[in-house]
């Protein structure tokens, strides 16, 4: 049998994409998930704050996943758990392996990539010092603590002030650990203000901005001490500014990388700015019939946005299967001043219904400012913002009637002070 759609990954992106494709009329849909349950990373994110946009209430991660799993259970979408996708290709074949069924090659009319992302590790950022036990990514510590029931340490230093690190600072404190410090390389935190307040300030945990760990010392194979230095504006340690911490655990919250081994091996065009696939307005990749959504495309701040993007991908996969290939010339979106990347990277104007959604991140903190869309030197539209920061994904809606006025084959998105 040929599936209408195979979704790779059963986390929030895969769940929303599958539900949406079903609603739009696809009947033979399969989700392939490598873990033993659906829900992905939400299962270990037991804190609340999810769903404010989507459900207008504050849910925990498992509750948010539960809502979508319930929706999925009302459809005829098939699910393969404990199954790893080894390879996909441009012919829409999906190679999978599982202990229960061995090796299989599945065929599909369309594929949605929803593999999410994984954490940067110590190896990725090159911290000097010993290589002992006791150094964890914040997310793996979160899984140990919240799902498997292991306390990973008693005296903790956290490197990186991304949201997962902040959440783990509070979580470890609640469970009786002493969190000595949260150390951030940049002069601002990458986490939400809400998390700075509720996870650090509530518990008196100091946040050291423009600081980093410069040494990890081991005793008997376990972390026993770390040294932290203040950094100058070239991010070099300033001699004499060292802070010394006796601790048994270091948690790393130093960024996320979209998990795209399958994407690259399938020959899908990638964007070095996002480390995800280049996508069109409907989340289709450079290979027709293969779509991508969620954190595998670019790392989102809120799962609510992942769900919305994934529903667009699911609807687009349904349109592809039911109505055929999308055609039309594409405009490329170029990032201008102080814009790090955009998603989508390309827009086929003929396929845009009323407006195109464009997501991007700015490179620095802005107060009163404007976002400008330009066609060559001509200003197409501008948007006012009171506040922008690299940690907060920006979203603009570009009306079709303005897209129709674009004469060049690219438009530029840039940000500046008003």
């Amino acid at each position: 049998m040929t599936y209408d759609l195979i979704v790779v990954g059963g986390g929030p992106a895969g769940l929303a994409a599958a539900c949406s494709a079903w609603e739009k009329g696809l009947k033979h849909i399969l989700i392939v998930e490598r873990d033993k349950e659906l829900g992905g990373i939400l299962n270990q994110c037991i804190h609340n704050g999810f769903g404010l946009h989507r459900f207008k209430e504050e849910l925990t991660g498992p509750e948010y996943a539960g809502r979508f799993i319930k929706m999925l259970n009302d459809t005829g979408v098939e699910v393969m758990l404990d199954t790893m996708v080894l390879e996909i290709n441009a012919q829409h074949q999906v190679h999978v392996i599982s202990a229960a069924k061995g090796y299989e090659v599945l065929e599909a009319k369309s594929i949605i990539l929803a593999m999410g992302c994984r954490e940067r590790t110590r190896g990725a950022i090159g911290i000097p010092g010993d290589r002992p036990a006791g150094v964890f990514t914040a997310g793996s510590a979160q899984r140990y603590l919240n799902m498997e029931g292991y306390m990973v340490g008693k005296r903790v230093v956290i490197l990186g002030s991304g949201d997962i690190g902040l959440i783990m600072a509070r979580r470890m404190t609640l469970e009786g650990a002493k969190v000595l410090a949260c150390v951030e390389l940049m002069p601002y935190s990458g986490g939400l203000m809400r998390n700075i307040v509720q996870c650090l300030e509530d518990w008196g945990i100091p946040l050291y901005l423009s600081h980093t760990i410069t040494d990890i010392v081991a005793t008997n194979g376990r972390v026993s001490h770390v040294t932290v230095h203040k950094l100058d504006d070239k991010r070099q340690p300033i001699p004499g500014t060292n802070l010394e911490f006796d601790c048994d655990t270091v948690l790393l919250s130093v960024g996320l990388i979209p998990e795209n081994e399958l994407t690259r091996a399938a020959g899908i065009a990638m964007d070095p700015r996002t480390n995800g696939a280049i996508v069109y307005e409907n989340m289709e990749t450079s290979v027709p019939g293969i779509f991508a959504c969620g954190n595998v495309v670019h790392v989102h701040d809120l799962v609510d946005y992942v769900s919305a993007e994934s529903e667009r991908a699911g609807a687009a996969a349904a349109a592809y299967v039911l109505n055929g290939v999308q055609q039309g010339n594409a405009i490329t979106i170029v990032n201008g001043a102080d814009v790090g990347y955009t998603v989508p990277q390309k827009i086929r104007v003929d396929n845009v219904p009323k407006a195109a959604d464009i997501f991007f991140r700015v490179r620095r903190v802005f107060k009163d400012s404007v976002i400008e869309i330009k066609d060559g030197d001509r200003l197409v539209i501008s948007y006012k913002r009171e506040h922008m920061a690299p940690g907060e994904m920006e979203h603009i809606i570009l009306p079709r009637k303005l897209l129709d006025t674009v004469t060049g084959n690219e438009i530029t998105v840039s940000a500046r002070e008003a």
């Binding site: 037991i46 804190h47 925990t60 498997e148 609640l174 509720q198 509530d202 506040h387 920061a389």
Partner: protein
């Protein structure tokens, strides 16, 4: 006078709350900031999320939360109470684990079917 950063939206207004003047808020740029500043100084509350022991389930821990915000100063007391809880699978999201926890009128409830 206490100073705090508003977390209602990403703008991050610096609020000043005057405890001697009925917790009057200044520095806010919207009414929601005034409400936040007032409550945050007068009676700060949080929803507590944690886990409890689970036997016979897919995992040995079951996620739980308080079904409404509880006074911040009681969070560690509630954590102590959760240490004594042991559930048996199956459990269902919404199931009450501890009612009226620590004299608040909040219940601790399961947040996942396991």
């Amino acid at each position: 006078m206490k100073e705090l950063v508003c977390i209602v939206c990403p703008k991050g207004c610096r609020l000043h709350v005057d405890e001697e003047n009925d917790y009057a808020v200044t520095g806010n740029s919207c009414p929601r900031g005034a409400v936040y500043g007032h409550n945050e100084i007068k009676n700060p509350t949080r929803v507590l999320t944690s886990t409890v022991r689970l036997e016979g389930g897919l995992y040995p821990r079951c996620p739980v939360k308080t079904d409404k915000a509880v006074p911040k100063k009681l969070l560690m007391d509630i954590m102590q109470e959760l240490n004594h809880v042991s559930l048996h699978a199956p459990v269902e999201a919404g199931q009450v684990v501890l009612a009226n926890i620590c004299g608040t009128d909040a219940n601790v409830v399961v947040t996942k079917n396991l």
